[in-house]
């Protein structure tokens, strides 16, 4: 019986190998995603050749940048409806819990947008390639892909941490439009938003100090906000700094317990 089973298994393994071998030898047609909305086949960021010299006309955002909160803090966003009530409950819960915020997500989970653009301690870098600006953020090793190749927004983007970002240059200002942000992520600490959140950013060097980068950011959410919220974020340059690795699991000293408390060990 055992011998029979073994012989059957050996036969099955041989048949599987014969089936797989031709597949490995001939991988079939290459993957072929269609061009995104607004781009003709053969154009856009996936075709960088011959366009690299054009990058030289873009402003100098070299080095890394640290978010530098300063100046007067803007008034908080004016929430409405269920979003306002949820924020009031969050405040009451914190007051009842000795000032401590109970968390629903791991501290190893990144904030996504728009919190991504206002992270203290951990620096940013801005990379220009033809048709695209990439923003890397050291914390959680987050990446934003911002398309400058003329594509339009996706018709129905999957909700995501960084959303669907398209942009264009107005002289030396990068104007970014972002939609499709996952509505389980915070708008700001203790605030949520709807899936209609739209973020507009105008990012440029300071006219008086080329080592300051300014992001005039507008959060617009007709379901969660009474009116668009505007702020000006500032980042300071460190020319030779580099982003370090950030593997949260490597030093996860602040896990969340089943009650939502941040632990410390």
């Amino acid at each position: 019986m055992a011998w029979k089973t073994n012989r059957f298994m050996a036969g099955a393994a041989l048949a599987a190998a014969l089936l797989v071998a031709p597949l490995m030898a001939q991988p079939g047609p290459p993957p072929a995603s269609p061009p995104p909305a607004g781009l003709k086949a053969g154009t856009g960021a996936p075709f960088p050749k011959g366009k690299n010299a054009q990058l030289d006309s873009l402003p100098d955002w070299g080095g890394i940048w640290f978010y530098a909160p300063g100046g007067p803090r803007p008034a908080p966003p004016k929430l409405k409806g269920a979003y306002k009530a949820a924020n009031e409950k969050w405040r009451a819960d914190i007051a009842a819990n000795n000032g401590i915020d109970k968390k629903a997500r791991s501290n190893c989970s990144p904030p996504g947008m728009p919190g991504f653009m206002a992270l203290p301690q951990y620096p940013y870098e801005f990379l220009f390639t033809p048709g695209r600006v990439t923003i890397n953020q050291e914390a959680w090793m987050q990446t934003r892909k911002i398309w400058t190749d003329g594509r339009s927004h996706q018709d129905d983007p999957d909700p995501s941490f960084y959303g669907d970002s398209i942009a264009h240059w107005e002289k030396d200002t990068l104007v970014v439009d972002t939609i499709g942000i996952n509505d389980t992520l915070p708008l700001q600490t203790g605030m949520t938003h709807s899936d209609k959140l739209k973020i507009t950013e105008r990012i440029h060097l300071s006219p008086t100090d080329s080592n300051l980068l300014i992001n005039e950011i507008t959060l617009d959410d007709p379901e969660a906000l009474e009116e668009p919220w505007r702020a000006s974020y500032t980042y300071r340059r460190d020319r030779y700094g580099v982003l370090l690795e950030f593997q949260c699991s490597e030093n996860d000293r602040n896990p969340i317990d089943s009650q939502g408390n941040t632990l410390f060990h």
Binding site: I100, D101, E138, C248, N251
Partner: protein, 123 residues
């Protein structure tokens, strides 16, 4: 006096809000109004994100050893203040100042260190 207390509470509330906007987690677990000086030996110095981490063996008032866990800034910020991954090594004598955890657990948020050679370095 009562008014003063109210103003103080309002000021503390304002101060507390930006702290909760910290990148990786809230600082509400620490008592940022208190400072504790600790003299001991380095057990571990971990040079990794999200925060560098220092473990120090300290003797308490009765002479019993207590292990203090101390959370530091991010390595990138510490580098700008002059730190390296080799600034502290296990066995080094060190005196540090921390904002202690609320409650009685031996832990805190790092403020500064005085190394065995007398150098003071902030975090």
């Amino acid at each position: 006096m009562r008014m003063k207390k109210r103003i103080l509470a309002a000021v503390l509330a304002l101060v507390a809000v930006p702290k909760m906007a910290d990148a990786h987690h809230s600082y509400a677990m620490f008592d940022m109004t208190k400072q504790v000086d600790l003299k001991g030996k380095v057990a571990q110095f971990k040079w990794t994100n999200p925060h560098a981490w220092l473990t120090v063996e300290v003797k308490d008032a009765t002479g019993a050893p207590v292990t203090w866990n101390v959370e530091m800034n991010s390595p990138n910020n510490l580098m700008l203040l002059g730190w390296k991954r080799s600034t502290l090594k296990p066995g080094d004598d060190v005196t540090i100042t921390v904002h202690p955890l609320k409650g009685d657990k031996a832990g805190g948020s790092f403020m500064s260190a005085t190394l065995a050679n007398g150098t003071k370095i902030n975090g």
